[in-house]
């Protein structure tokens, strides 16, 4: 049995090679994939988020941890699907139309993935139709929108309106964020939630899927 604490450390320290190696060993030794995720990877990514929030970690460290986690998830995901384990929720995330700033969006996507969500990353400069098809065809139940430019903030409203027009607004929770976005703006455009950092975004998404 490999020392699974090493998986936690590898994710926390952004060491993809070790994360992958320990995951392989653990699977060979018969560990349950879900246990690796919930007991080691999710807590590690939570800690990464915490360090980011209190400025012990910065964008580069967060990206490295996310990459380590993803390396391991690539091995685990097919096994989860086989065993019918459901993700915490399915998030369609993207930077809205006309905006290419995607660093913040990528961090949010990674922490959500680390938090046990399935993430459909639509990229940057994403048209409303793409969010709609992610909901309709891929069953996303959370839509996460990022915008960094004042000129692209209105595209968040357009996207929410398009979800309404397509008749899928009630099937999803919408959360928004990015440097110029404020809680007031989020309310104004009819979003369900806002956060100003990636780690709180995970808490927000968890609150959406928690049974009431």
């Amino acid at each position: 049995m490999p020392d699974l604490q090493k998986l936690y450390d590898a994710v926390l320290e952004g060491d993809q090679k070790t994360a992958v190696a320990v995951t392989q060993e653990a699977l060979a030794a018969g560990c349950a994939p879900m246990e690796l995720i919930t007991k080691y990877m999710v807590p590690a990514m939570d800690e990464v988020g915490r360090r980011f929030e209190c400025e012990e970690y910065f964008v580069p460290e967060l990206l490295l941890s996310a990459r380590a986690m993803k390396g391991s998830l690539v091995l685990l995901r097919p096994l989860l699907a086989e065993s019918g384990v459901q993700p915490a929720g399915r998030v369609a995330i993207g930077t809205v139309k006309g905006d290419l700033h995607d660093i913040g969006k990528n961090l949010v996507a990674s922490l959500l993935e680390g938090g046990g969500f399935e993430v459909i990353d639509l990229g940057a400069d994403v048209a409303p139709e793409k969010f709609i098809s992610a909901v309709k065809e891929r069953g996303a139940n959370i839509v996460a929108l990022s915008a960094l430019l004042t000129v692209t903030m209105p595209a968040m409203r357009t996207t929410i309106d398009a979800l309404k027009q397509a008749g899928v607004r009630d099937q999803v929770k919408v959360m928004v964020g990015g440097a110029p976005v404020t809680p007031q703006f989020a309310t104004e455009i009819g979003a369900d939630g806002y956060s100003d950092n990636a780690s709180a975004a995970v808490g927000l998404a968890r609150s959406f899927v928690r049974p009431e």
Binding site: E55, K97, N106, L149, P180
Partner: protein, 422 residues
């Protein structure tokens, strides 16, 4: 009344000038979107002619002498011969920029995708993969990342140094003639020579190169600043060596014809935090910044201009120690960037070139009256004792109402006690 250049020089030396100097168009970080330049020309009733897009990446419009006078500006720019897409601004021709006729370089070559997105090509070479994309509905280009597959143990820092080479005689001749023209205008001169940015994330994808090698992806670059510091040091070492050699050649050609040099546009700030710790800044960037700035101070009268968006208050002490004289764009809307405390803590050692008005809320969305109020307030705080060049926080973006731009200019003139057009 002082001449514009004297006004800037006093300001940069922390002496009280007769009035606050104003810069719009002096650099690619203090510029104005071509659509706004066109609107300003109309507003001031200047000759109707297409505006030159002198910086195609952000689609910045050239502010010509007539508009500079109408706006009451004190600074003009010297720019590199080649643009962000690697071609020179030669032989202007008309281009229909989504309904607005503008002038672009003959080597500004584009194709249109079925989606309506516009693609632009490095060095104007349509046979090379495109290096920029302007999405439908957008007003400027985004770089297209062309990242060759990374094989960790085959990474060679040389590959990231293709763009750092000794400048050609043609470039030198260009700097010489531009500096002469700039000086003849009587304005203060802000020069951009290029080559000393050290990891500016807008330049990492190298939109000016046909086939960039090395680390060109944005996330990959950021990760490298933590996990491949030796590699990054090697790039910076080379860049620093070549950069200083080029500055020496340029200085030999133009002397002290320019007043400030925009040396580095690497953004260290986010809205609420920084891209790295002070420790990393000091370890990875500081030695190179210091070497370049020390060279400039030892050999020229130029002042060193640093641009960084976002929340960078925690970095200002290090920037000063590294020899920077000027900070831009002073993003007061970001965490810790309160004008009063910035001025009182750093005002005697650092020139604030920017911070004149917020561009995330006030300038694009405020009323002209709100713009006036904010501008007067900022002039009051930053203007005391010199050390303030008026400029909005970063370029004036497409879609900014011209009434607000005019309200901003009028407010600075009001503060300065100047009647521009009687």
């Amino acid at each position: 009344m002082q001449a514009a250049r004297k006004r800037l020089l006093d300001t940069l030396s922390h002496r009280t000038p007769d009035r606050i100097p104003i810069d719009f168009g002096g650099s690619a970080v203090t510029g104005v979107h071509v659509s706004c330049v066109a609107a300003l020309r109309d507003h001031f009733g200047l000759e109707r002619r297409p505006v030159m897009v002198h910086e195609p990446y952000q689609m910045l419009g050239l502010i010509e002498d007539d508009l500079r006078v109408a706006m009451g500006l004190d600074v003009t720019g010297v720019f590199p011969r080649k643009t962000m897409f690697g071609f020179a601004n030669t032989l202007w021709r008309e281009w229909d920029f989504r309904g607005l006729t503008v002038l672009v370089s003959n080597e500004f070559r584009t194709t249109v995708e079925p989606s309506g997105d516009i693609l632009i090509y490095p060095e104007g070479d349509l046979s090379a993969p495109p290096s920029g994309r302007m999405p439908l509905g957008s007003a400027f280009f985004d770089t297209i990342v062309r990242q060759p597959e990374i094989v960790e143990n085959e990474l060679n820092a040389e590959d990231n140094c293709e763009e750092f080479s000794l400048i050609e005689d043609e470039d030198l001749a260009h700097f010489k003639s531009s500096a002469e023209t700039a000086q003849a205008s009587g304005c203060g001169v802000l020069a951009t020579f290029g080559g000393t940015a050290f990891g500016d994330i807008a330049l990492v994808p190298a939109p000016f190169l046909k086939n960039p090698k090395g680390i060109r992806d944005i996330a990959e670059w950021y990760m490298s600043t933590a996990s491949r510091q030796d590699y990054v040091h090697k790039i910076f070492e080379r860049q620093c060596e070549v950069g200083i050699a080029n500055l020496a050649r340029i200085h030999a050609a133009i002397g002290d014809a320019v007043d400030a040099v925009f040396l580095c546009g690497t953004d260290f700030g986010t809205q609420t935090s920084q891209f790295c710790s002070v420790k990393t800044l000091r370890n990875l960037w500081f030695p190179y910044y210091k070497a370049v700035n020390d060279w400039v101070h030892a050999n020229t009268t130029w002042k060193c201009f640093k641009h960084s968006c976002g929340s960078v208050e925690k970095f200002l002490e290090t920037f000063i120690e590294a020899g920077f004289d000027i900070i831009n764009p002073v993003q007061c809307s970001a965490a810790g960037m309160d004008p009063k405390s910035l001025k009182s803590k750093y005002g005697d050692r650092l020139v604030f070139w920017g911070g004149g008005v917020d561009t995330q809320k006030t300038l694009p969305f405020g009323t002209p009256e709100q713009v006036r109020g904010e501008v007067l307030g900022r002039c009051e705080v930053f203007g005391t004792g010199g050390g303030f060049v008026f400029d909005s926080i970063h370029n004036i973006q497409a879609g900014t109402p011209v009434e607000n731009i005019v309200a901003m200019l009028n407010a600075v003139h009001e503060f300065n006690g100047v009647t521009i057009y009687a």
